[in-house]
């Protein structure tokens, strides 16, 4: 299946791009992120990272659907 992946802030700098289309066998957001860390050597897993799917906050273990847009948020620091 296909998913659009978007990176923000620190993750964007580590991945070296702000978005990409990934064709893969499917799975959870956590599995997709893990795959991306193998593709982009500088992209590192962060315990406090968050994920959103189609502009809604989501969970790392939620299974993704074909064409979902997956947003990887590094640890947030508002305020």
């Amino acid at each position: 299946m296909k998913n659009k992946v978007r990176y923000f802030a620190l993750f964007r700098e580590q991945a070296g791009c702000d978005s990409e289309i990934i064709e893969w066998q499917g799975g959870t957001a956590a599995e997709l992120f893990r795959m991306m860390t193998e593709k982009h050597q500088d992209l590192k897993t962060e315990a406090a990272a968050l994920v959103a799917v189609n502009d809604e906050m989501s969970g790392w273990e939620t299974p993704l659907d074909d064409m979902d847009e997956v947003l990887f948020f590094p640890p947030v620091a508002g305020g």
Binding site: F8, A48, P74, P75, V76, A77
Partner: protein
């Protein structure tokens, strides 16, 4: 809008007026300012990146939660994005209610959740010329309250 993102300076007096209500005897305002140091480094300016589509939805949700949980009359939050200079207001939370107790509690709830749930990131530009994303990973640890940064 109860939660909004602003690219220009926050008008604090206008924000306060938006929660004014004759039935309220208390107004609690929290202002977050850009300070000149963080974790031993001299800070020159700060840059906020906000992913608005999610921040606006989740921010409104946090304010609705606070209104329901603490039964306050009105609440709002405005957060800046872009490049900010020292002493500028980065965020403001205004809460009004008949009595002060619930207004303090709701204000605290809103700012604490804004800091940990919204897709907002800050890059600090230090006097030394270096700039770095502020990593609040340790904020997820129990007991840490953003008190020091």
């Amino acid at each position: 809008m109860k939660f909004s993102v602003s690219q220009t300076a926050i008008d604090v007096e206008a924000a306060k007026k938006r929660v004014a209500d004759n039935s309220c005897g208390a107004l609690v305002v929290f202002e977050g300012w850009i300070r000149d140091h963080n974790e031993g480094q001299a800070v020159e300016r700060l840059e906020y990146e906000v992913y608005k589509p999610v921040a606006e939805k989740e921010g409104a949700r946090i304010i609705d939660e606070a209104i329901e949980k603490f039964q306050v009359s009105h609440a709002l939050c405005i957060h800046r994005e872009g490049l900010l200079e020292l002493s500028e207001v980065a965020v403001i939370v205004c809460v009004s209610s008949p009595h002060r107790g619930e207004a303090f509690d709701a204000c605290r709830y809103i700012i604490d959740n804004i800091k940990t749930r919204l897709p907002i990131w800050k890059k600090e530009h230090y006097v030394s010329g270096i700039s770095e994303w502020v990593n609040c990973e340790h904020c997820a640890a129990a007991g840490h309250s953003h008190r020091d940064h």
